[in-house]
Amino acid sequence: MSPAGGDAPVHVTLRGITRVYPAQAAQPPVHALGPIDLDLRQGEFFAVVGPSGCGKSTLLDVIAGLAVASAGDASFEGQAIDGSVPDGIGVVFQEDASFPWLTVHDNIAFGLRELGRPADVVQAKVKYALDFMGLADFAQAYPAQLSGGMRQRVCIARTLVLEPRLILLDEPFGALDQQTRLLMGDELLRLWRETGATILLITHALDEATMLADRVGVMSARPGRFLEIVTTGWPRERDSTIVADPRFGGLTSRIWTLLRGESLRALGHTGVRR
């Protein structure tokens, strides 16, 4: 497991990443994102915050290989990302992506079965993931029988069993209540420590970003660029009680100060509508 920090090898490189949506009928082209330059170090926990519509999710889609950048270069473990999802990357989405026709167990086993792993390997890994995410009692339940938080855990477990080296999370706790979000944050930290994976978390919750990440990238209003990357300096062993740390408030307000003007600008751009 490599420690997060300046000396860890670079895992993801972004250079001049820009995304422009081409002109539609009677609509000019939309410059959604960039240019973005970023190096993610192996094993670090990086959070991205920014005003609504600043292109955070677009950035994640480009790194995941789910969208192609209009300009710039992205690479993962030295290989260019070119519009297909590279091996070793797992994505957890904001929306519920659990498969409603499969039990929790079969949801988690889905990716492994797609890869044609032998049944005993699938069994062992799914059992580990069920235990790790606290889903063992619900293995035979269908997603519709679970709460939103539990379903999101299923999606995380489904990604986790594939042992991704880079985990991308797009506002995974956005639809959950505050207490559940804090607890899910703790689980995410535990997962991050135990797997040694690099994590990129997109969130609109400043406290969540401050609590979880080694570094927080603060993005401007559209077109999204990094205004500043704030280093939190937390120890690797940490959990949600860190919100009581005297430095927590300072870091969060530092990020908010950077964001406030941008959020106002974003509101002004789009009116009250979202």
Partner: protein, 249 residues
């Protein structure tokens, strides 16, 4: 038993009892309709004698072929059309007006093409059933959430595997509705066609009994068809409910 189920049974029993009473009282002439109790005994006699075994087997086989063919073709055509937006737009008016076409009007043509065997009946059943499957397949596939398709890309699945493992399973409850309709339409199509021109089958026997004023045989067979279709559709309905239970919160 649930209150509504009990009431439902009471309504049906009441209607049967009323009909029985009206006929025995001579208000409805026996020449028009025989009492339900006699229909049941006539059906029992028909089944016990075994003389219509071949007709029943022929009809059920033809219905089954129409059902299976319309399901397979309907899901395949629906899946392909959902991915071919331009073709779908061209065919859209046909879908909207399909059930305005009187399929039986093509029956003479089908007999000319396929002869007097079982194929024309199967064709009518198929033609009536297939569109219900196509439309419901399209409806289900249109509803697949984008995030599930993103998840498919994350698992690096091909278009075919995405269709088989994500799109179709998600659409399954909708497709099932199409299957239920396909079963009903196949019965209607095949038995209806047997009425017109054929030499065997339940529809042919009902029509033959009708022409010979054989009320016992005619009503016995009508009861048979009714009981058969109701049983099949009720079991499909129960299955569908089980399928939907998993999806509902």
């Amino acid at each position: 038993m649930k209150r509504v189920t009990l009431l439902r049974i009471l309504v049906i029993l009441g209607a049967i009892g009323l009909l029985e009473g009206l006929i025995h009282a001579g208000i409805v002439p026996r020449f028009t309709i025989i009492p339900p109790s006699e229909m049941a005994s006539a059906l029992a006699a028909i089944l016990a004698s075994g003389k219509l075994k071949v007709d029943i087997a022929v009809t059920l086989t033809n219905v089954a072929v129409a059902i299976v063919a319309s399901m397979a073709a309907g899901v395949t055509i629906g899946t392909v059309l959902q991915r071919a937006a331009a073709l779908r737009r061209i065919l859209d008016p046909l879908f909207a007006t399909y059930y305005a076409i009187p399929m039986y009007a093509f029956y003479p043509l089908l007999i000319v093409v396929f002869g007097l065997g079982d194929v024309p009946q199967i064709c009518i059943g198929f033609l009536l059933a297939v569109m219900a499957v196509i439309i419901n397949t399209l409806n289900g596939l249109d509803r697949v959430p984008r995030v599930l398709l993103k998840a498919a890309r994350m698992h690096r699945m091909s278009a075919l595997r995405t269709a088989l493992r994500i799109r179709l399973p998600y659409a399954a409850p909708y497709i099932f509705t199409g299957f239920k309709l396909a079963v009903a339409y196949s019965f209607i199509g095949v038995i209806g066609a047997e009425f017109i021109t054929s030499s065997r089958g339940i529809g042919y026997e009902i029509s033959f009994a009708y022409n010979n004023f054989d009320n016992r045989l005619m009503y016995g067979l009508i009861l048979f068809v009714l009981a058969l279709v109701l049983t099949v559709n009720m079991s499909l309905h129960a299955w569908e409910k089980r399928l939907m239970m998993r999806r509902q919160r």
